[in-house]
Symmetry: C2
Subunit: 231 residues, 2 copies
DNA sequence: TGTTGAAATAAAATCGATTTTCTAGTATAA
DNA sequence: TTATACTAGAAAATCGATTTTATTTCAACA
């Protein structure tokens, strides 16, 4: 994902650091719950303190880092409760956004949806191969974003993106080497079809089921690993 | 509203500035769309640049300020489209959160709801009197927050608070001197009753209607003032 | 032993100054 | 005229150092 601040001209130091940090958190390189010592981070990343602080502050806003005044920063912990909330909110917001997109979108939107679907279907997801997994994730996120993008609700899109990145973190940490058994391609295709044909109820229901299945998959792997309560 | 960062011990400079800025934006003292010159702000508020930058960054995250790299900051503009989105999202999220609260809340929650209702009903809203309006707003927000708080979904609560503050800004700017004609007390009481009696469908529907009415009120005043499209 | 308090240390927050990047104005060339 | 290149000037971004606050250590005392 790019920086949270609209970029003009040269990218700013803070923006680059933000991207790097987000990547490291979403991929578990900075472990959930880890204490972030800004001074050590600064030297290890070889950047200045001011832009680092700024980047961290932005990620606090995004919910990937937690701040406590005068006590520094922590990578937001993961927990079953948090995963459940992320899933519940996606279930509430994504189908809603999809319905709005179906209302607002025209031929351009339909074209974008079918295009994103095509690319996704052509992108192999090879468990264990990081490059393939990364490519697949880009295509997958692009498809899902395209579906909902024409809701024309910028605040909603921002919430949506934030939820997706939280969800991706769980995927990265727990789904590195696991093959997806169910036929995701069929699910995506069915959603896209229904969307393009303006069958809003079908599309929303299919998308909801898709989200649920994906999360259940994750939940199984994680429950074994983490206690039920957050913290 | 307090600082977005959990406070320990002494409040930090950045936190205080954040509170001040949020207040000024929400009350239209810093006008919607206004360019924020950090250096001038710094001297006019008589604070340092670093904590000011930090405070501004937090408010960017909250959606009250917009940032563009290397081009500075702008108070988020207001528009009919934005008000509509804020309202639509509240309609989607608040009744949902209320249902969850009804599921999770026990006697403590019921007590808190009825308490907040009582205080709100005892707090007069005198149009034109800033102190009275501010007190009423505190009580009103506390009541609404209490209703949804036991959804036990921290991310949802954060979204909710952010939407409420955006909504409050429109209220402050356009509803300064206007009396509320409909009987808000009855609406609040009906919602609280239904919630406490666990009539989830009733409570959610009443809350939704309440939100709609409040927004319609605002929308009328604003449409006269602003064009339909943002920016 | 366990507890309290002062000193030392580590980390976060802030400051003041510098560097980089944008913006607007002007002059020159097509 | 229109477009392009240059040049202050303004504003944003960043740096390095300082100040403030929290945490840890350790000794004195109960």
């Amino acid at each position: 994902m790019e920086s949270s601040v609209k970029a003009a001209g040269k990218p700013t130091m803070a923006g680059q650091i933000e991207v790097q940090l987000r990547h490291d958190i979403l991929h578990g390189i900075l472990a959930p719950g880890a204490k972030l010592n800004l001074d050590k981070l600064r030297s290890s990343m070889d950047v200045g303190l001011s832009p680092l602080r700024e980047a961290v502050t932005r990620l606090v806003a995004e919910g990937l880092i937690e701040a406590e005044a005068q006590r520094g920063y922590t990578v937001t912990p993961i927990s079953v409760a948090n995963l459940n909330e992320v899933c519940a909110l996606r279930l509430e917001l994504e189908p809603y956004a999809l319905r709005k997109s179906i209302e607002n979108g025209g031929l351009d939107w339909e074209t974008a949806v079918m295009g994103a679907l095509y690319r996704l279907n052509k992108t192999d997801r090879i468990p264990g191969d990081p490059v393939s997994l990364a490519n697949w994730e880009v295509a997958n996120n692009a498809f899902h974003l395209t579906l909902v993008e024409r809701c024309d609700m910028p605040l909603l899109i921002k919430m949506y993106k934030s939820l997706v990145s939280m969800n991706d973190r769980y995927r990265h940490i727990y789904l590195k080497a696991v093959a997806v058994q169910r036929d995701v391609i069929d699910e995506h295709t069915a959603i896209a079809q229904a969307a393009v044909e303006r069958r809003a109820n079908d599309a929303a229901a299919l998308l909801a089921r898709h989200i649920e299945r994906s999360t259940n998959n994750l939940r199984l792997l994680i429950s074994a690993d983490l206690p039920e309560n957050p913290q």
